[in-house]
């Protein structure tokens, strides 16, 4: 029974989101803190270093951490305001249970645990172990990610565990494994500095990874040409040497056409291809018909610009290609990624100084969180849960029989579909807000309403947790020690600054207690986070993501260690592939042929406009944290429908007219923002909000067949002007998600 017990408005009254501001003179003790704790920002995979001011076991403010080498004090607005998630009036300070008609009422930890364990037992006895699923998230540290994986397999004994990385960069991970046998960006950011050409494909770098902008400009100061592929003129695209305004969903056509130009003009590295790769001929054959005229027609980009991009890339001596969700959130996300890798391999520009390639992972621990086993198909060290050797190794580390480890389960969206079908009856979630973040979220909400038992671990009552039977108050980033792995593959240390407030507990303590009550306590005898990390090191040993040689001490001493780091005397690996050997047995990297495919949903006469979604600089993902921080809300208070003036005129739309956007899945109404910085055939809505303001009511749930990532970035819509103007944003309170 996971319907809302009372109206959303009444829940919001008690649990927020409420906007939290710093008092006029700062928090008490901000001028004379007891200590400054060196840690990292909790938002995004740049993981900027920051110092938190602590006074009387409370966070009182921040001070830039100038010495941390990646950001040297630089921060984005989310980083500056991150400390306001502390001392927050919405913070969950005790366990709650759902009471029909009354809302959520406090219960004791013992009762919350007892009820949860008894419901797990009941559901698993009645419907089987796999009928109880778990959804996790990669804002969790490596230690917690590892523990969740072990918990679900050994304590909950379910195969159905997956995570919100499934809607982040899994297409990149799958593509990298197909091409290199390993999933990590090839170089540290330092190698951007002297790249002659940089391609950024589908990444709004200056809003999603603002501090990376500095590195792009460093390269440009050294003469780099910047090419940005994006349907919108984002702030990073605005100053690019070349902006390729790709039609959403046509990325592999663009990169296929570029590969053809490289081949036709002989701008390829024959020696590298011959000695260090396989499959070039098939990849070239797949794009032989992708001439410039076809590419212009398919991608919507002028052919001169495509040729210019191919020429710059082809003739450069050094280069770096970066991509992110813009090319990954597609039913052909893996194809898009492989089409990028093909042009990198064709020119042999990898494994050398200032030559690199990689995805810009999105979430705080998007890299480490996808390596250590809370994915449905994975065991720690980025091992394959279906591989008998990998299973045997992990079974030994865990001290269990191999057969006790469940097999591959369903991916995140498939778990929601299975709940909707009635096959999965119970759920634990931690650090995941799928009712805001998954596509076609009316369907997702319906699924949650069908659950027989749902327990949510979180620090705020997010929109999904409003459907929970029991809520367990967990810990914020700064309330538990651990490590995360940044987008450049650098393992860094998260230091505990304060204790969880009230009755809130560390996430790991919650997992350990549940494991104990489920009879698996002996597998979770961890004294502290370092003990978890030390087990993770052993579990990852020999895997592609090998952390064995990394220790807490080594991380702190070196301000991070880049994996792979297979032994204690190993310095870590900022640059991969210097030996020109991939992780495959033959040591060769693999081209993969990419034939262009259309998106799952293309425009037609009924749904004539392309809809794409993305982020704004002041919000982070589903907004659980950032929609509670006053200044971040005020900066961009509600989602706007970005629309080109030439499209607006067809519908007689003016600024702030309320426009209903309808797709085959649902409809929602947004104020229009008329801008020339978007393709005329495409509208854009940012997705951070829930309820009636949620863009994901409209997006499509079709998945990439390999990565199982949903196609957030393209679907077909209708625009229906309502004839009304939007009230001022501050009166609409979109941040509350009612």
């Amino acid at each position: 029974m996971a319907k809302l017990p009372i109206s959303a408005e009444k829940i919001i009254d008690k649990f927020g989101p409420k906007k939290h501001y710093t008092p006029m003179g700062g928090f008490e003790g901000s001028h004379e803190p007891d200590k400054l704790v060196k840690t990292h920002c909790c938002f995004c995979a740049m993981q900027c270093g920051i110092q938190l001011k602590v006074k009387d076991n409370k966070i009182a403010g921040f001070e830039p951490w100038m010495e941390f080498p990646f950001n040297e004090g630089r921060l984005c607005p989310k980083g500056v305001q991150r400390y306001l998630q502390n001392n927050h009036p919405d913070r969950l300070l005790q366990p709650y249970q759902r009471v029909e008609g009354k809302g959520f009422e406090p219960i004791t930890w013992d009762n919350a645990m007892e009820r949860t364990i008894s419901e797990i037992r009941r559901i698993q006895t009645q419907y089987g172990n796999d009928s109880f699923a778990m959804l996790s998230g990669v804002s969790l540290t490596n230690e917690k990610s590892y523990m969740v994986g072990k918990f679900a397999r050994l304590a909950l004994k379910t195969k159905n565990l997956d995570y919100n990385g499934r809607l982040c960069m899994v297409s990149a991970g799958a593509g990298n494994k197909k091409a290199f046998g390993l999933d990590r960006i090839s170089n540290s950011w330092a190698d951007l500095k002297h790249a002659e050409v940089i391609i950024i494909a589908g990444s709004n770098v200056s809003e999603c990874f603002p501090t990376l902008t500095h590195y792009i400009w460093q390269a440009r100061d050294n003469g780099a040409k910047l090419i940005v592929v994006d349907p919108r003129v984002t702030p990073i695209a605005r100053t690019a040497d070349l902006h390729l305004p790709v039609k959403p969903g046509r990325d592999s056509a663009l990169f296929g056409a570029i590969l053809k130009q490289l081949v036709d003009n002989d701008w390829i590295d024959h020696e590298f291809i011959e000695k260090h790769t396989n499959g070039f001929e098939a990849a070239a054959e797949a794009v032989k018909d992708y001439d410039l005229d076809w590419a212009e027609k398919t991608t919507g980009i002028e052919k001169e610009k495509i040729l210019q991009a191919a020429t710059w890339w082809g003739k450069a001596k050094t280069s770096f290609l970066l991509h992110a969700r813009g090319i990954e959130h597609h039913t052909k996300g893996v194809d898009n990624v492989l089409s990028c890798i093909n042009i990198v391999l064709a020119t042999g520009r990898i494994g050398k100084p200032y030559c690199g390639y990689g995805t810009i992972t999105g979430q705080g621990n998007g890299q480490g969180g996808r390596e250590h086993g809370h994915k449905c198909d994975q065991l720690p060290g980025n091992r394959d849960i279906s591989n008998p050797e990998h299973r045997k190794y992990i079974a030994e580390v865990w001290g269990v029989e191999e057969k006790e480890i469940p097999g591959m389960g369903l991916s995140a969206y498939e778990i929601i579909e299975a709940i909707h079908r009635g096959e999965i009856k119970g759920l634990i979630s931690i650090c995941f807000n799928p009712i805001v973040s998954l596509p076609n979220n009316n369907f997702v909400r319906e699924a949650f309403e069908k659950l027989e038992y749902y327990v949510a671990i979180d620090f705020f009552l997010n929109e999904t947790a409003r459907h929970a039977d029991v809520i367990l108050p967990g810990s914020l980033h700064e309330e538990e020690e651990g490590t995360v792995t940044t987008a450049e593959g650098r393992v860094v240390k998260i230091n505990q600054a304060i204790d969880p407030p009230g009755e809130a507990r560390k996430d790991s303590d919650i997992l350990i207690e549940m494991a104990r009550r489920l009879g698996a306590g002996d597998k979770f005898n961890f004294e502290n986070s370092e003990a978890v990390f030390n087990e993770l090191r052993v579990a990852s040993k020999g895997g592609t993501a090998d952390y064995y040689g990394i220790s807490y001490e080594k991380i702190e001493k070196n301000m991070g260690v880049f994996w792979p780091c297979p032994s204690e005397d190993h310095p870590g690996t900022p640059r991969l592939w210097e030996e020109k050997k991939s992780a495959f047995p033959d040591g060769k990297a693999r081209f993969n042929p990419v034939a262009y495919k259309e998106p799952a949903e293309v425009v037609d006469k009924d749904f004539p406009v392309i809809l794409t979604t993305g982020r704004v600089v002041s919000q982070y993902l589903s907004g659980t944290q950032t929609r509670r921080i006053g200044k971040l809300v005020d900066q961009y208070p509600e989602p706007l429908l970005e629309i080109h003036p030439s499209l607006a005129i067809q519908y007689n739309i003016q600024n702030r007219d309320l426009i209903t956007v309808r797709t085959r899945r649902g409809e929602a109404t947004f104020p229009a923002q008329i801008v020339e910085t978007i393709r005329p055939d495409t509208v854009f809505i940012p997705y951070h909000w829930g309820g009636s303001h949620s863009a994901n009511q409209l997006t499509v749930g079709d998945l990439d067949p390999i990565s199982k990532i949903p196609e957030f970035k393209v679907c077909a819509c209708q625009l229906i002007p309502t004839g009304k103007k939007a009230a001022p944003a501050e009166e609409r309170s979109a941040y509350q998600s009612s």
Binding site: G25, R74, H214, V617, K631
Partner: protein, 189 residues
């Protein structure tokens, strides 16, 4: 306030082209204990309908500051390091002369407090050898605090400019803006 090591070699440079409109500078500025959560730096879209270009508006610390010259209460002063300080609260009469006189439109009158407030180059930080908050956090390099030699070396395609011509008036500033190489001044028509 004890001035320990205000380094006059250090300068403040603005490169509008690099501004990504993220507002980190505003939020960091407001953290300063003397600002009471008000930012002394402001980011605006030039014309959002046509571009994502944003601009930075902050005190330019003029060599001959019009704001100080027109202040009837002598509340605004320029110190030996060239920093033009915000109006002294005990003197400021809230007349807004400075607001009207500033060629860059920087000072703002805080209506609630009946006081003019503006950037004082993070004096508490810069006089202790730190960078101003805004230039510390700026993620794109649109704001830079360092020596002229350092920025010229790092950014060979642009040059710092400190001369602004408004009609017949020439204004020289402590804060410099980065312009294409070969530029000597910015003329505002």
């Amino acid at each position: 306030m004890t001035v320990t090591k205000y380094d006059q070699q250090m300068g403040f440079f603005i490169d509008m082209q690099r501004c990504i409109g993220c507002h980190a500078c505003e939020m960091a500025c407001a953290e300063c204990e003397t600002n009471g959560q008000e930012s002394m730096i402001h980011i605006h879209y030039v014309e959002r309908a046509v571009s994502t270009q944003t601009t930075v508006q902050v005190c330019m610390h003029c060599e001959d500051p019009a704001c100080a010259n027109v202040c009837p209460a002598d509340a605004i002063s320029k110190d030996e390091f060239g920093v033009v300080h915000t109006a002294e609260t005990s003197r400021c009469i809230g007349c807004s002369n400075c607001v009207l006189a500033c060629p860059f439109g920087v000072p703002q009158k805080q209506e609630k407090a009946e006081l003019m407030m503006k950037c004082n180059m993070c004096y508490d930080r810069t006089s202790a050898g730190k960078k101003p908050m805004c230039a510390t956090v700026c993620p794109s390099g649109a704001l830079f605090f360092g020596t002229r030699e350092e920025i010229e070396l790092k950014r060979p395609d642009s040059v710092p400019v400190d001369t602004f011509i408004f009609g017949n008036q020439e204004v020289k500033t402590k804060v410099k803006i980065m312009m294409p190489k070969g530029s000597n001044y910015l003329k505002v028509h």
